[in-house]
Symmetry: C2
Subunit: 229 residues, 2 copies
DNA sequence: TAGTGGTCTAGACCACCCC
DNA sequence: GGGTGGTCTAGACCACTAA
């Protein structure tokens, strides 16, 4: 049996680990490798392209392929729908809308997401529970100019995140991870004490340069986000 | 000009956004799409494969291709070499080794990373600075059975992360993100007050099931990790 | 069991960019 | 200018799995 692109990836990785091709080294060209592995050039090409995706190799036309000198492995993760994240652990998911209010976009929000002055936004605050335990407090603003039908939806049964993901497409997004000391209000929602370190995600999404929504997600105490490389 | 795989990706995304193919909908098969776009099936295949990678589509043999019902976009990020992360901001990078000690792996570490009893590990504690400001406190353990030559390296000039990335290959890794209240010791290192919320990364890597290293990285106050979707 | 995606091939043309 | 990777093609066989 000839080599598949998976075989080739494995072989290349082995050689890199064995220091046959140390960081910074140039690899043979695709044609030569295809000859060595007894396969078509396209097969080698696919293997190499995936290794670039994985952050192992660098390629440039004419210059060739080399092992990245500092092999910064790329990690992939996905922000799951919170309902699924909770039910996957076996717990019951419960959602509560705390507040729903149409307001004029405040200055700090406008400066953050480039919303014009006077623009109306929908402000929502909600809690997500895993069984009896608070799981996440969500503080969210939705740009009503970008999502007019949000104004008619009550968000009593379905959280804004889940609703938006299903109803409103987006082209760009930003995620910011940080740690926050719980304010007394947030501590109260999350059933913990003032000042507790809270894992926080800020999420912003755009549809073709127009801001759709901005959210701050405060997770319960001891929440950890895990990723494999 | 015929369609390239990039064109096809763009068209498919447009149709999904225009609700021509709403979440959960089945797409035509590759052969049919190839006919529509006037290109080879392989070209369609590549476009579709990448959309699966991006978290937009799901595919199963025989069942066909459908739009993910909850389009969980996957985000990619790379953990940069800390030196580069700092010098990229224009600041000077400074590294200080605080402590270097060979010890028998403590129980909590063994249980976490499956190191046999009695195994020697190298324990390092270091600080990374951006200019005059503390940037990260690193608490690291290196499995000397997996990385014997770490015992002979002094780590005075190069941080363990950077050294390991260059010297020791790994096959698997785990990243855990969380928020921690600073202990008085960590607060001291990071020049902040007790209890400050600290963004924390735990990183574990293995080489073929053998643990290489485990590290806890405590970032300075207000550190944020940003990713685009 | 039949239909769909998964993969491979041999050949081709092209774009980029280092020398 | 010429070598390298980037992409596309037309055709083929295979593997999985829903029906």
């Amino acid at each position: 049996m000839r080599s598949s692109y998976r075989d080739i990836k494995a072989i290349v990785l082995t050689r890199i680990r064995a220091n046959i091709w140390p960081p910074g080294a140039n690899l043979p060209g695709e044609i030569e490798l295809a000859k060595e592995f007894g396969c078509a050039r396209a097969t080698v090409n696919r293997a190499m392209r995936e290794l670039v995706d994985d952050g192992i190799l660098e390629r440039k036309r004419k210059a060739g392929t080399k092992v990245k000198s500092s092999p910064t492995r790329r990690a992939q993760f996905s922000i799951p729908i919170i309902r699924e994240e909770i039910t996957n652990t076996g717990a019951d998911y419960r959602y509560v809308l705390l507040e729903r209010q149409t307001i004029t976009a405040p200055g700090w929000l406008r400066s953050r997401v480039e919303i014009p002055k006077g623009q109306k936004v929908l402000h929502l605050r909600c809690m997500h529970y895993a069984g009896r335990n608070p799981y996440q407090f969500e503080d969210r603003w939705i740009n009503l100019a970008a999502v007019p039908n949000a104004a008619e939806y009550d968000f009593e049964d379905i959280g804004p995140n889940e609703w938006l993901v299903r109803e409103v497409p987006f082209t760009d997004g930003e995620l910011v991870f940080s740690a926050t000391n719980a304010s007394s209000e947030i501590a109260n929602f999350l059933n913990t004490t003032d000042g507790t370190a809270i894992f926080t995600i800020e999420r912003t999404t755009w549809l073709d340069k127009v801001n759709v929504t901005y959210a701050r997600l405060y997770f319960s105490r001891d929440y950890k986000m895990t990723t494999r490389l």
